[in-house]
Amino acid sequence: MHDNTVERQCLEVDIACVGFGPASGGFLTTLSRGLTEAQGEFESSAMPGLPPQVVCYERADDLGFGVSGVVTRATAIRETYPDLDSASIPMTAPVTSEKVVYLLDPIGASRRGLAVRFADAMLRGLRFVFRVRDEAFTLPFIPKFLHKDGGLVLGIGQFHQWVASQLMAEAQVQLWPGTPVAEPLIEDDAVVGVRLVDQGTDLKGEPDVGYLPGMDIKAALTVVADGPVGPIGRKLDEHFGLPEGHERRDWAVGMKLVVDLPEDCALEPGTVLHTMGYPEPEVFGFLYVNQPGLASLGIFVPSSLDSPVRASYRYLQHWMQHPYLWKHLKGGKLRSWGAKTLQESGRQGEPHLVGDGYARIGEGSGSTNILTNSGVDEAWATGAQLAEAVLELLKSKQPFTRDNLERTYVKRRRESTLDKESKVAAKARVGFRRGFVRGVIGTGLTGLTRGRLNAPGGLGTKHREIKTLAEHFKGRIPASEIERIEAEASASQRPLQDVYMDRVGWPAIPFDGELLVSHQDALLLGGKVQAPPGYADHVVFLDPAACAACETKPCIAICSGQALTLGGEDGVPLFDREKCIHCGACQWSCPAPRQPGHDAAAIALEAGAGGLHSAEN
């Protein structure tokens, strides 16, 4: 938390937007056009005589450093850009073919329940009937709710760059990358702006050379678009709580690569493959071909995988090597790498969308449709809806109060098709809390009945119930051996997830220096991860005693960049920000709530600069 006794500079603007992503893209583009069309009709209250001052602060060092392999119906994006020419945006292609594929386990190391094993045996036994090839079964049809007909494959980094360049050309709004926002400024339950992070500090946040206390940006409207794990959204939730009956307990980390496909690869641009069943049944995969010879591919490791060893990177490497995929990828070359957290509670995780002086848009506002697995277009739509509302309020010279925002923004959102769809989808993932098979059946049920029927199960179950190592490896690794491994690892600071993966039968990765590279090389070659000096560490341990007492420390295994390691003083993990990609998986994987019965974790991702430096994600 910031020291409130420090004297801070203050800047007044009209609208401050936190985070540059699809939601703020939709918001700023729509707003910018509205301001241009108004031809000076609106005047800034912060700086009289000038047009409304709209600023957007993004923590990453560039606007194109976002991560997401996206296939989207692009309905809302096309509403904003009716003449969108996919050829003008690098890494964009119209969807040409779609497949959903169930992957068998060719290794035998995956942890499969009885039902899955039965299904596997049946597929193998009747392989000619089911046309099982390369250890994979292609679903004969794709349910309508999963189809992305007429949609687009996007590289989100390039898309963001393109949107930003359109915005810059219009010159109505200012975009500032490399500017992390620390916290919302709340006065009497109204948000009056944001505070930027302190600069020129040491790792602990103490003043150092070039110290500049984070500036207070006062704004009539604060637009919160900082994604699923953004600190502003989180702090608003901590202050205002979630609406009755809402919860955010389903998450996933999506880790992906952008790959130069081998020359003989026959996959066409616009190809969309979705996989399930391997490397663990709960882990879903995707492969999208962005342009000739270039694909985005990766996996989602969800919170429903109740393992303390959620080793995303290792799983990703095994997934790529599955015969069904490897036939396309062998000989390919890693071009980019990254990971991000996905908020998979969707509509059930919707926070208070508006309050006095603020509005929330995008993934952090619960816009993701967890049935169709799409979030970019939905996020864009919420941004565009807010912009229309803002223009309406500017025109009628009304303040950005809760009531006014409810009446304009929330109303538009509720009336939109995408919102109705997300309502249908609200319970699509509930089944996964009770296992993979129930999850798949539940999703199918939700999709086919349009939300009238869902898997049973409700709120509050399975919250961070990660099994202990002994429970998880029961029957596979003796408890005494686990103890020995833990004791040795603590001394050597060696990442443990690999030890356990090896031990339960996952083969060693045959590193080739091209596509199969070490985790650290993925960071350096692919993600180009950086940590600029002058900022405090952005991953903080709020309750060190809880961390010390935590036996499993799943934050370490799931850490996308191996930035968290064992070996810290008093059993608290060590954090190395030079490896952190700000995915926030540590936060939602934390099994140690800060207060009993409270969702807030003992570890927190605060705002910080740096992270990924690849624009091809």
Partner: protein
């Protein structure tokens, strides 16, 4: 028909730097290979008569001399170089890429409406065309090209050519006069050490020690040991007469307010945003990185690395040997052995 001018300046002690004899090799080779080419020499310095006699095989030597040319200064050097090029009617100028020439010759090229390349690593003749090779994007990409414009200045990268031998001979030295402005506005006041700490950069050292950020990081016991790291590094530099290079991340730690090695400065930095020194051997310790940083030892012939991580990008495929070990332990032992030997 190209006329080649080999251009050099003297050092403070009146001799030519080693880099000049390297450029002389390049100039002579080019003159030999290029159809119909002629070679003359041009020298700049307080007194160039003595060094003119060391340029064996060159018959015509032009000289600009006088007290104004004793020092490295743009205004006097650019006038001298332009006068030598004009007098010799040269079309190709081969000169060493010393700091003095890197500062002055671009301006001389501009004054003569010519073109210039610095840090040239190879010069060759193909028929009557001159081809140059140099690195772009901080030693990441190497390219070869030719130009039709003349005069064309080619400044050879130190260490890229074998130095020509400086044998005593007798050249005819023609003095070239230079019109200098009535008053030179810049006065050179001398050479200063970059830091008051130990001198750690030794361009002529046989071995380069590259220190990475790992030295300042928490070690096995969860604490940092910067003092130990400092004495190990300094000890090695002294005992092995080595030069010190550093990765960017290690240098940057200073800016982050972390406890750092006091003798380390940005001048030590090698790689993408630092220098690319030439040494016969290089030992990288506690470094991790990939291509952009590894260019720091692009011009180091024999390379070894000590790192805890076997897959380290600094080493895999780039070093001849990678020792997977704790650098603190190994370097302590190395210093012990070197000291016992000394």
């Amino acid at each position: 028909m190209d006329k080649i001018l080999f251009l050099a300046h003297t050092e403070a002690d009146g001799t030519l730097p080693k880099a000049a004899y390297e450029a002389l090799t390049a100039a002579k080779n080019l003159a030999g290979d290029l159809q119909g080419a002629t070679l003359v020499a041009g020298l700049i310095g307080a007194d160039v008569a003595q060094v003119a006699d060391t340029l064996t095989g060159i018959e015509r030597v032009l000289g600009v001399s006088g007290p104004e040319f004793a020092v490295s200064r743009y205004s006097s050097d650019v006038a001298a170089a332009a006068a030598l090029v004009s007098t010799s009617d040269a079309t190709i100028i081969v000169a060493p890429a010393t700091p003095r020439f890197c500062r002055a010759l671009p301006g001389a090229a501009a004054r003569l409406d010519g073109r210039i390349e610095t840090q040239v690593t190879a010069i060759s003749a193909e028929g009557d065309a001159v081809e140059a090779e140099r690195w772009f994007y901080r030693q990441r990409i190497v390219a070869k090209f030719s130009r039709s414009q003349r005069p064309w200045f080619l400044l050879t990268s130190p260490g890229a050519f074998e130095p020509a031998s400086a044998e005593a001979g007798k050249a005819t030295l023609e003095a070239v006069s230079v019109d200098l402005p009535a008053k030179l506005r810049t006065k050179v006041t001398g050479i200063e050490a970059a830091t008051t700490e130990a001198q750690t950069i030794r361009p002529d050292a046989d071995i380069l020690l590259v220190a990475g950020a790992g030295w300042n990081k928490k070690q096995k016991d969860g604490a940092t040991h910067v003092n130990d790291a400092s004495s190990l590094v300094l000890g090695f530099l002294e005992l092995a007469r080595a030069s010190l290079g550093s990765t960017k991340s290690l240098v940057d730690q200073g800016a982050e307010g972390a406890e750092v090695m006091s003798f380390m400065s940005h001048l030590n930095q090698v790689g993408q945003t630092g220098s690319t020194p030439r040494h016969r051997k290089g030992l990288a310790t506690c470094c991790h990185g990939e291509e952009p940083h590894v260019v720091g030892w692009r011009f180091v012939s024999e390379r070894r690395a000590i790192n805890l991580d076997e897959t380290c990008g600094w080493a895999q495929g780039k070093a001849d040997v990678l020792y997977v070990a704790d650098a603190f332990e190994v370097m302590a032992k190395v210093n012990e052995l070197l000291a016992a030997d000394a």
